[in-house]
């Protein structure tokens, strides 16, 4: 067992480039915003000999007090990455640091709470009993259980067996379980799954409330991009096992802005502008991939070509559109 641990550490040391990059980033982070609570460098997982590479070389950093979104399509490697972070899956290579200390597989996570697989619980036990079992496993007493049940709105159903719970109730119990040890980092895998609109809203408020005082951080994976856009400070996008982007939500949304222009004749306007900017006809307008600072130049060219311009306005794409654009581009490049 020990030999395996040593081997894993040796493999980790091979990730020199990543480690250096991470160290540099670490230095910046500690000077700038919140300290890094979770640092991942070159994390990879391959199943079988020469088999499927589920996760390849993922490096990311989660800072104190932020909600970090981990986005990816189904099968992109989100859950595998999360399971490696929780010590459920042994990485093939790579390193994980939690609160500035190396994390090794098999080490209990004292300051981390988690929700995976929509709240996996003992179906023959009540919701309260499940939390009691988990509290004992974590070496805690039952003091926080009633408060948490109230916080997630399950006090009335806490005596019922979990097998009778709806998906949303399990999910809420899962959040209570994740908060049981009063963690500094909460890892949530698809926390909004199975929740109705009101439930999603409550979950959003709960998560934002957790990080409100800046001491806790949330790392969440989701495919509900609208939720992520509203909830997360920074996001990472994973596609086919590889991390293809890590940025703040604001950076991503403003990265590829467009100008929507209503002009006549539309085709002629497209011809004039397409020499300098990518543009396409979208409905009754022309969508020009250009930044707001290009607007005067665009307007001048259209007027010079005797095209009547009725309106010109910047458009902001949703996170969903940005996500699709990034992942589609990666697919095309591959």
């Amino acid at each position: 067992m020990k030999a395996r641990g040593v081997l894993w550490r040796l493999r980790s040391r091979r990730m020199t480039a990543h480690s250096i990059a991470l160290s540099r980033e670490r230095g910046e982070l500690q000077i700038g915003e919140g300290a890094a609570v979770l640092e991942v460098a070159g994390l990879s997982k391959t199943y079988g000999r020469g088999g499927v590479r589920a996760v390849q070389d993922v490096s990311l950093t989660v800072r104190a007090g932020e909600v970090y979104g981990f986005l990816g399509a189904n099968g992109a490697g989100k859950s595998t990455t999360i399971r490696m972070l929780l010590g459920l899956i042994t990485p093939t290579s790579g390193a994980i640091r939690l609160f500035g200390e190396d994390f090794h597989i098999g080490q209990p996570l004292r300051r981390v709470g988690s929700l995976v697989d929509g709240g996996a619980f003992y179906p023959f036990l009540s919701g309260r009993r499940n939390l009691e079992v988990l509290a004992r496993t974590e070496g805690q007493n039952d003091d926080r259980i009633e408060g948490l049940l109230a916080q997630v709105g399950l006090t009335r159903d806490a005596h019922r067996k979990v097998k009778g719970y709806s998906t949303g109730m399990r999910q809420r119990l899962g959040v209570a379980a994740a908060l049981l040890n009063n963690p500094d980092l909460i890892i949530l895998d698809e926390p909004a799954n199975g929740l109705d609109a009101a439930g999603i809203q409550e979950m959003r408020a709960l998560i934002r409330g957790l990080v409100a005082d800046g001491t806790k951080s949330v790392f969440l994976s989701s495919h509900l991009l609208n939720e992520v856009q509203q909830l997360c400070d920074r996001v990472a996008i994973i596609d086919r096992g590889m991390l293809i982007r890590e940025a703040t939500v604001t950076e991503l949304l403003h990265e590829e802005t467009s100008l929507r222009i209503v002009a006549t004749p539309q085709e002629q306007a497209q011809t004039v502008l397409s020499a300098s900017w990518p543009c396409e006809i979208a409905g009754q307008g022309l969508l020009v991939r250009a930044e707001a600072k290009d607007a005067p130049d665009i307007l001048r060219r259209l007027v010079a070509a005797q095209i009547e311009v009725f309106s010109m306005a910047p458009t902001q794409r949703s996170l969903e559109e940005v996500f699709l654009a990034i992942t589609n581009k990666e697919a095309a490049d591959a």
């Binding site: 010590g87 459920l88 042994t90 098999g106 996996a120 619980f121 023959f124 036990l125 004992r136 974590e138």
Partner: protein, 284 residues
């Protein structure tokens, strides 16, 4: 570890399997003994039994402790351990607990609690047997031999109890290893049944097939736990080695210490494989 044991207790106590495969012993045995007593009380008067010796009286009250050595009950013990270990895969709950405790501790807590429950159940069943037998002695012409003492009962029971410890540990290891490797309660039960049956019947198979010249089967028989379980029990009960005579005249016989060593090797080996397998396992 105390916390993990408390967690495991809270988890397993209300589970159906604990009632069906553990608490069933004291319940069924007590009910059967009471029915036996009532039928004697209200049935036709039977001639008084011959007086028994203290040793025989104690051995009668200690029949419960033979349960762990009997193949049929080892199947049930294996089934319980299969539920305890493979259940976590079925319920998908390893993900809930593994991040918060060392894996070896989680397994150890399971072994301790499941074994503790079983021995508690057998203890209660043995206690009920002694109590009902004492009540019978007061109500029926079945007097307790005068030289029966509390210490005699305790030591007599412990002697038989000790015979069952190795079979219980082996059964637990068969079931838990099968559970970790297959992640399925049903598969673990089947594998445990096969392993226990091998322990119980392989000697007879080897003996029978030796008549057909298949004496090579004696080689695995010498290293598998079956012979050595029987040998240890024989030494404890009869003070002599268990001998298996093959048709070609070969006699398989080993000293007690050798059988203990082989069984210890099996227990350590299976335990090590179980812990290492679980330590390295990806919980998807």
């Amino acid at each position: 570890m105390r916390n993990l044991i408390a967690a495991e207790k809270r988890k397993l106590l209300p589970h159906k399997a604990t009632w069906l495969l553990v608490w069933v012993y004291p319940i069924v045995i007590t009910v059967a003994l009471i029915i036996g007593l009532l039928s004697k009380l209200w049935g036709a008067p039977a001639p008084a039994d011959d007086p028994v010796t203290a040793a025989a009286w104690i051995a009668d009250t200690a029949f419960v402790w033979h349960i762990p050595s009997m193949a049929l009950f080892r199947y049930l013990i294996g089934a319980y351990f299969a539920v305890v270990f493979a259940g976590e895969y079925g319920w998908n709950t390893w993900k809930l607990v593994v991040p918060h405790a060392a894996r070896w501790k989680l397994l150890t807590a399971k072994y301790l609690v499941a074994t503790g429950f079983l021995y508690l159940a057998w203890f209660l069943a043995a206690l009920a047997t002694v109590l009902v037998t004492l009540v019978r002695a007061g109500l029926l012409p079945e007097p307790v031999p005068t030289d029966v003492t509390a210490f005699g009962i305790l030591s007599g029971h412990f002697q038989i109890l000790s015979l069952g410890i190795i079979p219980v540990v082996l059964t637990a290891l068969y079931a838990s290893l099968a559970a970790i490797l297959t992640r399925s309660t049903l598969a673990s039960c089947i594998i445990t049944i096969v392993a226990v049956t091998m322990d119980d019947l392989f000697g007879k198979i080897v003996q029978a097939l030796s008549a057909l010249g298949m004496t090579w089967l004696a080689v695995p028989y010498r290293v598998l736990p079956g012979y050595h379980l029987e040998n240890v029990a024989n030494w404890a009960q009869k003070g002599a080695a268990f001998q298996l005579k093959l048709m070609d005249g070969t006699v398989i016989v080993y000293p007690q210490a050798f059988s203990f060593a082989v069984l210890a090797a099996w227990i350590l080996g299976l335990g090590l494989i179980t812990f290492v397998s679980f330590r390295r396992q990806d919980i998807n």
